[in-house]
C-alpha cells in the first residue's frame, strides 16, 4: 500500500508550475524592447502553463498536502521548474544550447542559483534570453515555494513544512505568527535589496563612475547578486566593471549571505543588537575576513597583484565563492594552486542559514564544532550532561543529529560526485586535473558556479560529457534542497504506509 498521496502532490506541483510559467512574461518585455523574437518565451509560457494546467486537471488535490507529501512536492517542483527554465533556451535555436541536456543544465544552474554555465560566448546571446537566465536565478534565490507561499492562498495551510524543505539551514526562524506573513516579509526584503542594488549600480553608471554600467547591466547583476547566483551578461564577469562597482557588489554579496530573518530584524525592526550578538553572523564575518586575508597574503607574496587591487580582488573572490555567488573579478584559474585551494575551501563554508546562499552554511560548521567539543568532553567525563547551544538557546538533540547527518551526506555526495566526474572525464579523455574534478563537484553541490581548469570563472562547462552534466544537474538539485528532502524519496520507509 502506498503511503504517499502522489496524485495530490502532483496536483499541487502542477498548479505551481502553471503559475511559474507567468514568469516568461518578463523576458518578453525585453524581447519587444530590443526587437528580438518573442516566440521562445511565448511558446515556453504556453507549454509550461499547459503542462501545469493539464497535470492539475488530471489529478485531484486536497486543500492541503501532508507532511509526507511535502518532500515530494518540493523535490518535484524544483525538478520541473528547471524543465520550464530550459524551454526558452531550446526554443531559441541558439547553437550554444544545442542539446536538451545543455539547456536543462543551464536552467538548473539558474534556478538553484549555482551560476555554472555551458555557454561559451555569453555576449552573443540575445538580450531577452540573457535576461531570462538572470531571472531564473532571482526566482530561485529566495525560493519558489516561499514566493508562492506569500501570494497563493492555496498554500495557506501546511505551507510550513514546504518552507522548511526549501529554506536553507537547520532551523527556520519565524518572524511572525503566520507563516504567510513571514514569507511575505522575506520576499519584500529580498525585493527591496535587489532594487537598492539596481539603483546603486545605475547611479554609478549615470554619474560616470563606471562607464561600463548601463541600466541593463545594473538590472542583470542586481538580479543575480541577491540570490547569490553568479550569472553575468559579461564574458569577463565582474572584471568587466570598475573598482567602485566591484566594491558595491561585494557589499551586496555579503548581505545576501546573511540570514534574512536576522537582516529583517536588524534593518526593518531596528534591532541592531540582534545582529551584533548573533553567533553565526560573527563567525560568518570572521571567516570572510580570514579567508580574504589569507588570499591577499598569498597573492601579495607571490607577486600576482599588489596594492588596492590585491585587496579588492582577494576580498571579492573570497566573498563571491564563500557566499556561493560565483562572480569573478579576476581569472583565478591563473593563480597559484595554493590560492585555488583556499577558494575551494571557502566554497564549503557557505553563507548563513536563512540566506540565499548554498553549501554547508556557517551555522552548521559552528554547531558541528560544538558537537565535537562535547564528544571530547564526554570521553573524559562520561557522566557529564551538557547541551549544545546556539545564541544561548539549547538545541534539540534531534536537530543536532540532523546536522551531523547532513554534513555526512554532503561530504559523501560530494565525494561520489567527484569520483563520477573524474571517472567519466577519464572515459572521454577530458583534460581534467584532480583539483578540477574536486572543484567541479564542490561548485555544483554548493551552488557556487565557477570551477577550475576549462570550467573556470571565464570558461564553460560545455566540454563535460552529457553524463557528467547529468551528474552535476543532480548535484545542483541536491545541493539547493539540502539533500535530505530529496534523499528521503529514495527510502522505502517514505513510500510505505
Amino acid at each position: 500500500m502506498l503511503g504517499v498521496d502522489v496524485l495530490g502532490s502532483l496536483n499541487l506541483v502542477g498548479a505551481l508550475i502553471k503559475y511559474l510559467s507567468l514568469s516568461t512574461l518578463f523576458p518578453i518585455a525585453f524581447a519587444i524592447g530590443y526587437s528580438e523574437s518573442v516566440w521562445p518565451f511565448v511558446l515556453a509560457g504556453l507549454v509550461g502553463g499547459g503542462f501545469g494546467w493539464t497535470l492539475e486537471r488530471l489529478t485531484q488535490g486536497k486543500e492541503q498536502v501532508g507532511i509526507r507529501e511535502g518532500f515530494l512536492v518540493v523535490s518535484m517542483t524544483w525538478l520541473l521548474a528547471a524543465g520550464l527554465g530550459a524551454l526558452p533556451y531550446m526554443f531559441s535555436g541558439e547553437d550554444q544550447f544545442s542539446s536538451p541536456v545543455n539547456a536543462y543544465f543551464e536552467a538548473m544552474s539558474g534556478f538553484t542559483t549555482t551560476g555554472a554555465s555551458v555557454v561559451t560566448d555569453v555576449e552573443a546571446l540575445p538580450h531577452s534570453l540573457a535576461m531570462w537566465r538572470q531571472l531564473t536565478q532571482w526566482l530561485g534565490g529566495m525560493g519558489i515555494i516561499v514566493l508562492f507561499l506569500a501570494i497563493l492562498p492555496r498554500l495557506r495551510v501546511g505551507g510550513r513544512q514546504l518552507l522548511e524543505h526549501e529554506l536553507p539551514g537547520p532551523e527556520f526562524e519565524q518572524l511572525t505568527a503566520r507563516i504567510r506573513d513571514t514569507a511575505r516579509r522575506l520576499w519584500a526584503l529580498y525585493v527591496a535589496l535587489t532594487v537598492a542594488e539596481f539603483v546603486t549600480l545605475t547611479l554609478l553608471g549615470w554619474t560616470g563612475v563606471d562607464d561600463e554600467m548601463s541600466p541593463y547591466e545594473a538590472l542583470a547583476h542586481a538580479l543575480t547578486t541577491m540570490p547569490t547566483g553568479g550569472f553575468s551578461t559579461e564574458a569577463r564577469s565582474i572584471e568587466a566593471f570598475g573598482a567602485a562597482t566591484q566594491w558595491v557588489i561585494v557589499g551586496f554579496m555579503v548581505a545576501a549571505g546573511m540570514n534574512f530573518a536576522l537582516l529583517y530584524r536588524g534593518l526593518v525592526r531596528r534591532q541592531p543588537r540582534a545582529l551584533v550578538r548573533d553567533e553565526e553572523l560573527r563567525l560568518y564575518v570572521t571567516l570572510l575576513l580570514a579567508g580574504s586575508a589569507l588570499l591577499l597574503a598569498e597573492l601579495w607574496t607571490e607577486g600576482v597583484i599588489r596594492g588596492e587591487e590585491a585587496v579588492r580582488v582577494g576580498t571579492f573572490q573570497v566573498v563571491s565563492l564563500m557566499t556561493t555567488t560565483g562572480y569573478a573579478s579576476a581569472d583565478f584559474n591563473l593563480w597559484p594552486v595554493f590560492a585555488a585551494i583556499v577558494l575551494i575551501a571557502v566554497m564549503f563554508f557557505g553563507g548563513s542559514a536563512g540566506s540565499t546562499s548554498g553549501s554547508v552554511k556557517v551555522v552548521r560548521h559552528l554547531l558541528i564544532g560544538r558537537i565535537l567539543r562535547r564528544e571530547l568532553d564526554q570521553t573524559v567525563h562520561p557522566e557529564i550532561v551538557s547541551r549544545v547551544r546556539l545564541n544561548g538557546v539549547p538545541m534539540e538533540e534531534r536537530t543536532l543529529r540532523g546536522i551531523s547527518s547532513f554534513v555526512l551526506l554532503y561530504v559523501g555526495v560530494f565525494a561520489l560526485g567527484t569520483f563520477a566526474l573524474m571517472a567519466d572525464g577519464a572515459r572521454i579523455d577530458l583534460d581534467l586535473r584532480v583539483v578540477d574534478g574536486l572543484a567541479a563537484a564542490a561548485t555544483t553541490i554548493g551552488n557556487v558556479g565557477p570551477a577550475l581548469g576549462f570550467a573556470g570563472p571565464m570558461g564553460s562547462f560545455d566540454p563535460f560529457s552529457g553524463a557528467s552534466k547529468l551528474v552535476m544537474i543532480l548535484l545542483m538539485w541536491l545541493g539547493r534542497l539540502e539533500i535530505i528532502p530529496v534523499a528521503v524519496l529514495f527510502s522505502r520507509h517514505y513510500w510505505r504506509v
Binding site: H381, V385, S386, P394
Partner: protein, 466 residues
C-alpha cells in the same frame, strides 16, 4: 505589634519562639495538634483553620493586626492569604514565604503586592555563599537599563578559614569579628566614609544597624554586622561584593550534590560570584533540565556516592562541597564519603532540626537548615527598623525615586556641592542614556534623570524642587 502568623510548621514555630515575648501573636494552622503544641509552650492565640479562607481570616481578627506572616510550606496558600489580607486591611504589612524563586522575581518587579517575600531556597543559598566566604548581594534593584544598580549587602566580619568544624554560621561570624582583617576590607569597613576607599562610581545610600536606618554622612563608619545599601555602576557593585568578601583564600571550585531547588538556587548564587560550579544529580531527566537551565554549570549524571566517579572527577580537589539532596541520610553519607576523598569543606543542607546536631557531630563542617534560616530572616524583618518605622511612623520610610529634572527647576545648572542637604541623596544621574555617578563639582542639568534616595516624608518636596 499585633502579628498574625499563618502556618505552625518549623518556620512558624521558630518565629513564634523568637517573637512571642515582645509581640502579640495569633497563629493559624489547619493542624490542631501543632497549634496545641505551640500554645502549651507560649502565650499566644491560636485559630484552627485554612489560610485561604477569607471568612476565617476576617473572623480571626486579621483586620486589627500590624503584620501578616504567611509561612506555610505551600506558596499558593501564602500568596492567597496575603492578597486577602491586602483587600481586608490595606495598612497591614505582609510577608510571604515561598519555595519558588520565580515568585521572588515577580515580587521584585513589583507585580506581587506584598511587602516582603522570603524564599527558603534563596536564603539557604545566601547562607552557603556566606559560609564559603563570598557573601552575595541580598537584593539588587536595577535602573536605567542596568547601568545603575542599588544593591544590599550584609557586612560580615572577616574570618580566616572558610568555617570551623562544628561551628554554626552565626557563631563563626561572631568569632570572626575579633580576628585580623583583610587589607582591602579594612580600607572601607570601620573608617569614616569620607576617608574610606569606596569603589569609584558608587555611594553608600544607607546603613541599617539594629534600630536605625540612615543616609550616612562623611563621618559615619560601616561596621561589621551592618547591612548596607549601595548605589552605583554594575562594576562598582561587583567591586563592593569583592571588597566585602572577607576570606583570603579564593574559592573557585564548588561541587553541589543534588539538583533540586536548593541545589539550583545555590548554584545560581555561586555562579553570580564567578565561582566554577559542578552539579551532581542522580536523575537523568532532571540532570538534562538543569543543564539547560544553567549554561555555566557543569552537570553530571551520577549518584555522588560512587567512589570511582568521585575519584575520576577529582571531587576531592574541590574547595567546598554542598550537599543539597532531598534526604538527610543521603546527604550525610555522601558528605562523609566526600570528606574521605579529601574535600576540605563540607556544607550540608538539612531538613530535620535534629540532623543539624548529628551532622556537625559527625564532622560535616556546616549544617544549614533552610527553614530555620528563613524563620530567622523573617524575625529579622519583623524587627527591622524599616518595618518598625513603617508601622509606627509611616512618614519615615525610605524610597528610591527616578525623576527627570525639569528645565524650570531652580536646581538645574547647579553644582552638586551647592545642592541643599535635605537628607536625600542623588545616587546617580542618567544623561543621554548614559549613567553618571556625580561628584561635588559636577553640574546637575535640566533633562537629567536623577535616581534619588530619600525619606518618604521628603518625597513631595524633592519632586517639587526638581
Amino acid at each position: 505589634m499585633k502579628i498574625f502568623i499563618i502556618g505552625a510548621g518549623q518556620v512558624g514555630s521558630t518565629i513564634v519562639e523568637a517573637l512571642h515575648g515582645e509581640h502579640e501573636l495569633t497563629v493559624v494552622d489547619v493542624d490542631a495538634s501543632r497549634l496545641e503544641a505551640l500554645s502549651s509552650r507560649f502565650d499566644i492565640g491560636t485559630v484552627e483553620g485554612d489560610g485561604t479562607s477569607r471568612r476565617m481570616l476576617a473572623d480571626a481578627g486579621l483586620a486589627g493586626s500590624d503584620l501578616l506572616i504567611a509561612c506555610t510550606s505551600r506558596d499558593e496558600v501564602n500568596i492567597i492569604a496575603s492578597i486577602f489580607c491586602r483587600a481586608l486591611t490595606p495598612s497591614t504589612r505582609t510577608i510571604v514565604r515561598t519555595g519558588n524563586e520565580e515568585y521572588l522575581d515577580v515580587w521584585r518587579e513589583r507585580q506581587l503586592d506584598v511587602d516582603w517575600v522570603v524564599s527558603s531556597e534563596r536564603e539557604a543559598a545566601l547562607a552557603v555563599s556566606q559560609t564559603i566566604g563570598v557573601p552575595a548581594a541580598r537584593q539588587t534593584d536595577v535602573f536605567a537599563d542596568g547601568q545603575v544598580q542599588i544593591v544590599e549587602f550584609d557586612v560580615v566580619a572577616p574570618s580566616r578559614k572558610v568555617a570551623d568544624k562544628g561551628v554554626s554560621i552565626m557563631k563563626a561570624a561572631e568569632e570572626a569579628a575579633t580576628r585580623p582583617k583583610k587589607a582591602r576590607f579594612e580600607d572601607v569597613v570601620g573608617r569614616p566614609l569620607r576617608e574610606a576607599a569606596i569603589p569609584a562610581d558608587s555611594k553608600v545610600a544607607s546603613i541599617i544597624r539594629e534600630n536605625e536606618i540612615a543616609i550616612p554622612r562623611g563621618e559615619e563608619k560601616i561596621r561589621p554586622g551592618d547591612r548596607i545599601v549601595v548605589i552605583g555602576s554594575p562594576t562598582a557593585a561587583r567591586q563592593w561584593s569583592e571588597l566585602l568578601t572577607p576570606t583570603r583564600r579564593k574559592v573557585n571550585d564548588v561541587v553541589i550534590f543534588g539538583a533540586g531547588r536548593m541545589g539550583i538556587a545555590t548554584a545560581r548564587v555561586l555562579l553570580q560570584q564567578g565561582i566554577r560550579v559542578r552539579l551532581i544529580e542522580s536523575e537523568a531527566e532532571r540532570a538534562k533540565e538543569v543543564a539547560e537551565l544553567l549554561p555555566g554549570v557543569r552537570v553530571f549524571h551520577a549518584t555522588g556516592v560512587d567512589p570511582e566517579f568521585l575519584e575520576r572527577e577529582r571531587i576531592g580537589m574541590s574547595d567546598a562541597a554542598v550537599f543539597a539532596m532531598r534526604e538527610d541520610a543521603k546527604n550525610y553519607y555522601a558528605a562523609t564519603l566526600a570528606k574521605l576523598h579529601g574535600v576540605q569543606s563540607t556544607i550540608a543542607i538539612v531538613h530535620d532540626t535534629v540532623s543539624m546536631e548529628v551532622f556537625e557531630r559527625a564532622g560535616v563542617d556546616v549544617a544549614i537548615n533552610p527553614r530555620l534560616i528563613t524563620a530567622e530572616e523573617i524575625v529579622r524583618f519583623a524587627r527591622d527598623p524599616r518595618t518598625k518605622q513603617v508601622t509606627m511612623l509611616e512618614q519615615d520610610r525610605f524610597e528610591i525615586l527616578d525623576i527627570t529634572v525639569r528645565p524650570e527647576s531652580e536646581l538645574a545648572g547647579k553644582q552638586f556641592r551647592e545642592l541643599p542637604m535635605t537628607g536625600s541623596l542623588i545616587g546617580a544621574v542618567v544623561r543621554e542614556g548614559r549613567a553618571l555617578f556625580p561628584h561635588g563639582d559636577d553640574v546637575l542639568e535640566a533633562g537629567d534623570r536623577a535616581i534619588i534616595f530619600t525619606p518618604s516624608s521628603r518625597v513631595q518636596e524633592v519632586e517639587r524642587t526638581l
